[in-house]
Symmetry: C2
């Protein structure tokens, strides 16, 4: 399957004029290559922009907002690309669809393919995939190949298998529809801010498609004549999988593929397929890059849960970890700072910040409660 | 804390005239005792009504729709009651809030209390609570009392502790706001069906508040003059915790408290606190009751995941299990049948229908894929 890059006759008339009454992502049909409304059974897009008073206070960041992509069908921003690709696949008569994934793309594809009635073939790295996520993929009826090798090897094998077996290829950096779908996050943030661009946007980076798509979406808003500047975009990687951060810091043109090590399986990519585009996109915005350690990720997850009631996986909290790393720079009250919360913490329970609370066995009596509270 | 039952001056002007542009549950402020818009940081309500083509085909139920309450802040319909109670608690100056819970109420309260800045004290049965759910409660910073006794004992102890320690009481059958919040599900379904009442509604029943609230909501729509009949409501219990089903079938006025045994921890209640109200509510609609086995629940979870891309926990799939039990009765094309999917399967991974799919270790080669596919 070859999908041509999409061009549009840009203008303000492509922007939806009315509020979201349940259509979600498909409201942006003027800027999408396929309109899936009425075809795709799960609601995708229209996720909340959360202004957490307590998080703002704790970080001293009065203009911070969270784009909460945990509120999607399977709890990650990957559901947007899955929806667009599946509608395209179905309209082309495909009966099987495949992807490589660090985990969330695959959970998303397994669910969406089940809802659309396509077979799903999934390629993951046996070394880094979360076992819980494999169980979710299987629950939706997918066939999961646990490939002996890193994510990049699973990715290439998936591309080859799609060629060989004529499966529709949803691979995030191979299928241009992934970029087209994920740019709707930028549209929604702009709209939710009262049709204004934010000043700074923090985004997690694995393959780089989420970031490149965000910047592409902002550029399309400018081309449509409804915005006049880009936000500064900050790419956030886990320090154990940070080839693009190192490239940026060294001022180099290219990166070396890395052997990775991080708890953030969602961005555990040592040789990003969209790395070039992500580096270029950040540069066009005058933005920067930052690496965050696994401890930073744990702190961000705990902070998010304890101040905002949102549970993110490590990769899902990476953007906030980047914000925390830069907290000295985002204290201006008139500065709007967005952090993308890209994936829910419900799926993989290994990394829950459970030490933030307390559970205690008690006898069924008020005395039991008092003893637990005050040790008396 | 004593909350008076709420009365309204019923009329069509209490129904919101415009579409949901992100307000969710608070759109129904005309029929709510407290308006939390602008106060409650998480988006609650406005969940999708899903018409799954593949599920309809598989069950031969052309008018079946799913109200997907997994799409809430913490993945269950409990988030509605939590939101209303927390806004009320904060407006009364409370600094601590407590609940007893079979699991989902507590996850919901832990998250909401963190977002609002209140301390959360949670009472669960050490015998039946899902360990994963306790980890989620702790992740949000809650104090969890694992009470030596069944849910009902934890519930009574929570009521006593709220009295003793002056904690705001969110208990689902004690605080009338729970009913007020949960009725908004009925409002949304009516609106999403084009301002029409469904014909039959299947609802899971533990304590009975979800069901009683649904019927109460329908009755308020009639009082407002925008609907002229009730749907028939079917209460679904797990056969290992089915006191109300047995009461209905025996034609008795009251039930005996039961010792329970079911995988559906969300409705694992042997002596329902809102049982009387739930029985009366079903009777007013001319509805009925049905019990489903743990095997029925597993089948419903697998069917939901494989046909619709939705993952429910056992209690969350109970209503659909009831639909499946009654499938002979819901084949009319003009009959609109609603099943509430009340809780996500993401939290508790013990019951995932993982046997529906397949995962296989392969070498990183096309030959590895072929061997896995065809054994060659």
């Amino acid at each position: 399957v070859v999908v041509e890059p999409q061009r549009y006759e840009y203008g303000p008339e492509l922007i939806p004029a009315t509020a979201d009454s349940g259509e979600g992502m498909w409201r942006w049909r003027g800027l999408l290559p396929v309109d899936g409304s009425g075809m795709y059974p799960l609601k995708v897009g229209g996720t909340p922009l959360v202004a957490s008073r307590r998080l703002r206070q704790q970080l001293g960041a009065p203009g911070l907002v969270l784009k909460d992509e945990t509120r999607t069908p399977t709890g990650s921003n990957k559901d947007r690309a899955t929806a667009l690709c599946l509608v395209d696949a179905a309209s082309r008569g495909a009966t099987a669809i495949a992807c490589a994934s660090s985990g969330n793309v695959a959970c998303s594809l397994a669910a969406g393919a089940a809802a659309m009635g396509l077979a799903a073939y999934i390629f993951v790295s046996a070394r880094t995939v979360s076992p819980a996520k494999v169980d979710f993929m299987r629950s939706f009826g997918a066939t999961v190949f646990l490939v002996d090798g890193p994510y990049e090897r699973a990715y290439r094998l998936c591309d080859d298998a799609c060629e060989r077996f004529d499966w529709y290829n949803r691979n995030t950096a191979t299928n241009p529809l992934a970029l087209q779908a994920k740019k709707t996050v930028a549209f929604e943030v702009w709209e939710q801010l009262g049709r204004k661009m934010p000043d700074v946007v923090y985004l997690p980076v694995g393959d780089g498609v989420t970031l490149a798509a965000y910047v592409h979406g902002c550029e399309e808003l400018i081309r449509c004549g409804v915005a006049d500047r880009l936000p500064r975009v900050v790419g956030v990687q886990a320090s154990g999988a940070a080839p693009l951060v190192r490239t940026f810091e060294a001022g180099c043109a290219a990166w070396e593929a890395e052997t990775t090590r991080t708890i953030a399986d969602g961005i555990d990519v040592g040789d990003p397929y969209f790395g070039r585009q992500a580096l270029d996109a950040v540069a066009r915005t005058g933005g920067s890059w930052v690496a965050v350690t696994d401890d930073d990720l744990r702190t961000a997850m705990a902070t998010l849960a304890r101040t905002s009631g949102l549970l993110a996986e490590p990769a899902g909290a990476a953007a906030l970890a980047g914000v925390i790393a830069h907290r000295e720079q985002i204290t201006a009250p008139d500065q709007t700072v967005v952090a993308l919360v890209s994936g829910t913490g419900l799926k993989d329970q290994r990394w829950l910040p459970r030490e933030g609370g307390r559970s205690v066995d008690i006898a069924a009596s008020l005395e039991g409660v008092e003893r637990a509270l005050w040790g008396t």
